[in-house]
Amino acid sequence: MTTPLVEITDLTKVFHQRKTGDVAILRGIDLTIEAGETVCVVGESGCGKTTFGKILAGLHDYSGGSFKYGGKEVATLSKTDWKPFRRSVQMIHQNPYESLNPTKMVFDMLAAPLRHHKKIKDFTTLYHETVKLLEMVGLTPVEDFIDKYPGNLSGGQRQRVSIARVLAMDPQFIVVDEATSMIDTSMRISLLTTLKRIQQELHVAYLYITHDLALGRYFAWGHRIAVMYLGKIIELGPTSDLIGDPCHPYTKAILSAARLETDSPYELNNIDIPSFTNICTGCSLSPRCPQVMPGICDVTEPQLRDIGNNRKVACHLYAQDDHNGEASYGK
């Protein structure tokens, strides 16, 4: 068994607020990502997925648990080990109108990391490398883009520049934080297709964060999806299986809502999401769950467990029979 690229165990993140005290945004996440694989994280806005993404990208530190990259614990990386981590892990931001320096030309934005990290001093080589990056992300003809400022580029084009910039570092793991939500609908697919092609050619792994289930299904087709609720991953599995046959009540509810089902929709009891500052004991979904089992769900918090077929659910409805390891589906 090769070491997974990313290995997260019981990851927690607590934010200290002066007024309300400590708020735990991430409450124990378990996840592994193999090299070249895509894991899509879906969840409502505010469920903690962006925080999770930033921690994985090395931009925030985590309060507890373990986050190992390439087998090494990130929080305790030595100075010599930090540099390769910093280069290998990158992120594409959500807002294309903020992630590019408005005073820099496209060429400069791509040349800077090339110059700095690959130590390319010669201008012609620099130029050729930049051209290669632009071609990689589909910004052709290159002459139309290389000397433009961000103000002259559309949202989709800006995101491509962001991707090209990140590729200059030869990353192995890229966190894609809702990179398409601020782009026109008809251009989203094109961007995602480019990202998929890059994955095939360069064997990068992705953590794709989104709240759009249809996009997540498209991007992570053939890979895995994780569903996040209130700072925990409550279901994880292969994309087609999870979408086609969801297990966790929350997953069922959001799929039903996304499909805008009118006959016999699967609905939660209350449409308001509780805030992080008053999460109840036991399963965080229990106040809203239509299949809640009083006495069990509101007492113990369910852990993310394997229920076979590469599926994991954190729900008491799928309590395991320990001796044969098979799930008893309590639908």
């Binding site: 409502e44 697919i189 297709t193 805008l260």
Partner: protein, 353 residues
């Protein structure tokens, strides 16, 4: 004072609540005149729900904002008119009406909920104050108690605890609750037309579904017409009777919802529908429409979509197609698939027409 055109009570006209005719709006920018909307026509009947779809820069928000005349200062209606039927025998021209008259129409007849509705509440006032202020601005002699009663009822219609919400401050409510409260506030004066700009973008999936159901049931109970702007085609199927597609400032297609989704006519509509992943469709490789939206400051000859259109003919690049009715209740602006073109069987011919 008021510009009224008394039109005859023609039975087909009676139902027509809003009639936008050949409207053109331009912006004055540093780089020149930007044609945001070009000869757009749109009709909304009483009780109807119309969706305006399109992508950034297509002019949908500009068009909708022009109905309530809340365009920014550098915008100008350069052509066309907006007719609003205030009552059975009175039609007002909204594009030329005075500010005074507009103020009587805004909120009591026509309401517009902007995209940033959630921050439309005054953070230092209780919700009840905002309901009272709104009502009293239009009906200065009404009884506050009666207004509050009405407000409570409306809040209950949107599944909120009326008493609790009225007492609360905006920051005590969640995003979904604010959106619903805003809807209740919008309906306070029983408007005839509600315009919504991206009503569900900032909401999570579960709340979004509830709001859509709400809007539909409210429409049935209170009988208002609705125009909503969105880029999310999913909610269009739920909410709209008709779909109007805009591209680069022009209306390119105007069709009943069902026929739009089953057989779109305009190449842009087709492209749009193909570019959106669906949750349950067979897994297919989707494709984006190649190219980019045109720069609206430059004067372009012919159909604005031609550079990106796989069916473009010679005449597409020289003459702008007009929005014509191709069949009952359905209009398309296209030389190839419009009234003078072939049927919607796709066979691209790249030669000269």
């Amino acid at each position: 004072m008021t510009k009224n055109t008394r039109t005859g009570t023609d039975s087909s006209q009676k139902n027509r609540l809003l009639d936008i005719q050949d409207l053109s709006i331009e912006y004055r920018t540093k780089r020149g005149r930007l044609q945001a909307v070009h000869k757009a026509s749109l009709r909304v009947d009483a009780g109807e729900s119309v969706a305006i779809i399109g992508e950034s820069g297509c002019g949908k928000t500009t068009l909708a904002t022009s109905i309530v005349r809340m365009l920014p200062l550098n915008a100008r209606i350069s052509h066309g008119r907006i007719l609003y039927r205030r009552s059975d025998d009175e039609q007002t021209r909204l594009d030329t009406a005075s500010e005074r008259e507009l103020r009587t129409i805004r909120w009591s007849d026509i309401v517009m909920m902007f995209q940033t509705s959630q921050s439309s509440f005054n953070p230092v006032a209780r919700i009840r104050t905002q309901f009272l202020d709104t009502a009293q601005a239009h009906e200065p002699n009404s009884d506050p108690q009666e207004i509050l009663q009405r407000s409570k009822k409306l809040l209950e219609l949107v599944y909120l605890d009326g008493e609790a919400i009225l007492q609360a401050y905006p920051h005590e409510l969640s995003g979904g609750m604010k959106q619903r409260t805003m809807i209740a506030l919008a309906l306070l004066l029983q408007p005839k037309l509600v315009i919504l700009d991206e009503p569900t973008t900032a909401l999570d999936l579960i709340t979004q579904k509830k709001i859509l159901e709400l809007l539909n049931s409210l429409r049935e109970t209170l009988g208002f017409s609705m125009i909503f702007i969105t880029h999310d085609l999913g909610i269009v199927t739920q909410l709209a009777d008709r779909v109007v597609t805009m591209y680069a400032g022009s209306v390119v297609e105007d069709a009943p919802s069902r026929s739009f989704f089953t057989s779109p006519r305009h190449p842009y509509s087709k492209g749009l529908l193909h570019a959106i992943p669906k949750l349950d469709a067979e897994f297919e490789e989707l494709y984006s429409i190649p190219g980019n939206t045109p720069d609206l400051v430059e004067k372009i000859e012919g159909c604005l979509f031609a550079p990106r259109c796989e069916f473009a003919l010679g005449m597409c690049r020289t003459t702008i197609p007009s929005l014509d009715e191709v069949e009952q209740g359905r209009k398309v602006a296209c030389h190839v698939f419009g009234i003078n073109g072939k049927s919607d069987k796709t066979s691209s011919s790249g030669g000269n027409a």
